[in-house]
């Protein structure tokens, strides 16, 4: 089943500002990272997926439904977490999430039960009867996530869920999203301008820039065959580099590290042999995944 599909999707505001240009992409269920700089068209795309904005031209489908003709059906099965502050300060998290659950069509008692479940899943069980105004940024983000989850959607659209969080909060939020995508069986689209962040939890990445598609692919496909070994020795880095070069390994330097593309397991043996021969103190030798950012960087000039 296709989770999301767009076909030549274009959105212009007032005929002058182009937010999306001829975007054609199709993704399977899973955790999808939607990455792009601020203003790349991520939020516009989300609003079109929710049926809040009508595309200027092109077609779009969400969970097999068309949000332009049947927005209510799409929204009943989608949960949305907006980027900005969206919580009335004087309501408690439990009241707010219950109320929004009812607006999603849950019967009264079910809404109450599911609201407290959703808040428990995001880790806000104890505090849920306190007014949201007194919450920390991290807690507010969790409430926003809980309200997107309350009606048991098939797809979550999360707009910059780690916004304003400290590093520990980011990790916790990403772990939570990963858990929702894997254990809860709910597909998730995570919007972010931080590629390094979403690449850790996503199995599909869609990168857009200036409203155009840069690349859309499974993360596994993007990073395979591009792994490198990072070697660090306490001294004698130059000697080792020369020795490895002599062994026909395309070695490159990055600070105190030597980077060697990983061809097969024999590469390990060659490096370890070289280190042993030179009798150097090996600090570390580990496999490093190519950062997805580097994959996009090489393609960037193509859209200008």
């Amino acid at each position: 089943m296709t989770l999301l599909a767009t076909e030549s999707l274009t959105k212009t505001y007032g005929g002058r500002v182009t937010a999306l240009a001829d975007l054609t992409v199709s993704v399977e269920p899973g955790i999808i990272g939607l990455v792009g700089a601020n203003g790349a068209g991520k939020s516009t795309l989300i609003k079109i997926l929710l049926g809040l904005l009508a595309p200027t031209s092109g077609r779009v489908s969400v969970l097999g439904l068309d949000p332009t003709t049947d927005p209510a059906a799409v929204r009943a099965r989608v949960g949305y977490m907006p980027e900005h502050d969206a919580l009335p300060p004087d309501l408690s998290a439990a009241e707010l999430v219950t109320h929004l659950g009812r607006i999603s069509g849950l019967p009264r008692t079910v809404a109450r039960e599911r609201a407290s479940e959703a808040l428990r899943h995001v880790g806000l069980h104890e505090e849920r009867h306190r007014a949201v105004g007194g919450y920390s940024t991290g807690m507010k983000q969790r409430v926003k996530l809980a309200q997107a989850l309350v009606h048991d959607p098939d797809l979550l659209l999360l707009d910059e869920p780690t916004n304003g969080l400290d590093p520990a909060g980011r990790d916790a939020m990403l772990a939570l999203i990963h858990r929702i995508g894997t254990e809860f069986g709910i597909s998730v689209v995570v919007c972010s301008h931080l590629l390094g962040e979403v690449e850790r939890i996503c199995d599909t990445l869609v990168a857009i820039d200036g409203g155009r598609l840069l690349r859309a692919d499974r993360v596994a496909a993007m990073t395979s065959a591009t792994d490198v070994l990072a070697v660090e020795v306490s001294e004698g880095t130059e000697e080792l580099a020369a020795r490895l070069a002599a062994l026909q390994l395309p070695v490159s330097r990055e600070g105190r590290l030597l980077l060697v593309p990983l061809a097969d397991d024999a590469t390990y043996d060659l490096i370890l042999g070289a280190v042993a021969e030179l009798d150097l103190p090996l600090h570390r030798l580990d496999q490093r995944r190519h950062r997805v950012a580097e994959l996009f960087a090489t393609r960037e000039p193509s859209h200008v």
Binding site: P71, R75, V78, P88, E95, S104, V110
Partner: protein, 293 residues
Amino acid sequence: MSEPTGVIHDIGYQRYTGPRLGRRHVFGALYLHGLRTAFGLGRSAKAKIFPWLVVGIVVIVAAGLTAVRTQTGQVVMTYAQFADAMSWLVIFFVAVVGPELVSRDLLSGVLPLYFSRPLPRGDYALAKLGALGTALWLLLGAPQLVMFLGAAFTTDNGMHGVWDELLDLLPGLLYAALWAMVFASIGLLIASLTGKRAFAAGGIVAVFLMTTPIVGILSIMPSRTVNELALLGSPPSLIHAVGRYTLGDLLAPGAQAEAEIGQFGPVYVAAAVVLVAGCVALLLLRYRKVAAR
């Protein structure tokens, strides 16, 4: 040491397979939520102070009127006149509760959470409008009911007297509904324009009170036609004029009504309908724009 009795089992995430209610129920949920908000129910104690202060005042006034009537046998105010007399309280109630219903949502940014749900954008506005209108109607209608009960229990003419009272009460409640509709539609439209509650409240009071001098000026103009149309100048006087035309004696002695609105009764009714319809249309238009942002 006793064994722990309550053990929490993490049963993991449960998918929901039960019923999902339709548009009518969602509308009802939002409407009831709005009505509760209007009276501060389910909200902080601070939010309850003002609505219940106003409710207290109108009920006490109604009780006072009832007491006077039972003691002296004189009708100080008819049911319809009661609504007129309480108009300034209604204005303040709208100025506080209207922004509470819509401006707060604009400011806190909660609207995207509503509009990303299967709630048509027009339904949001109409549910809030219904909630405010109902709150106003209850505010004016409940004291009338107090007056009715007082009169019904003390009537000297048995069931016939009760029936007469009821026939007086019903137009009063309808008149209260007119007040509620006009005030709710104007008040909510103004409140929906800004997220700042103070500005919204000020705007509402301004529209209702600042337009009163217009009526004054028009009514002293040399033209008799202008004088008779003067009540079009401000919403409260417009309602009053419609009441004069439709209720007649219940609001003021006949001759006086003639003098004030002349033969222009239907014009006033049409103006009231156009005013309410226009405000509702603008309100829906307003939320069409807000939702797309």
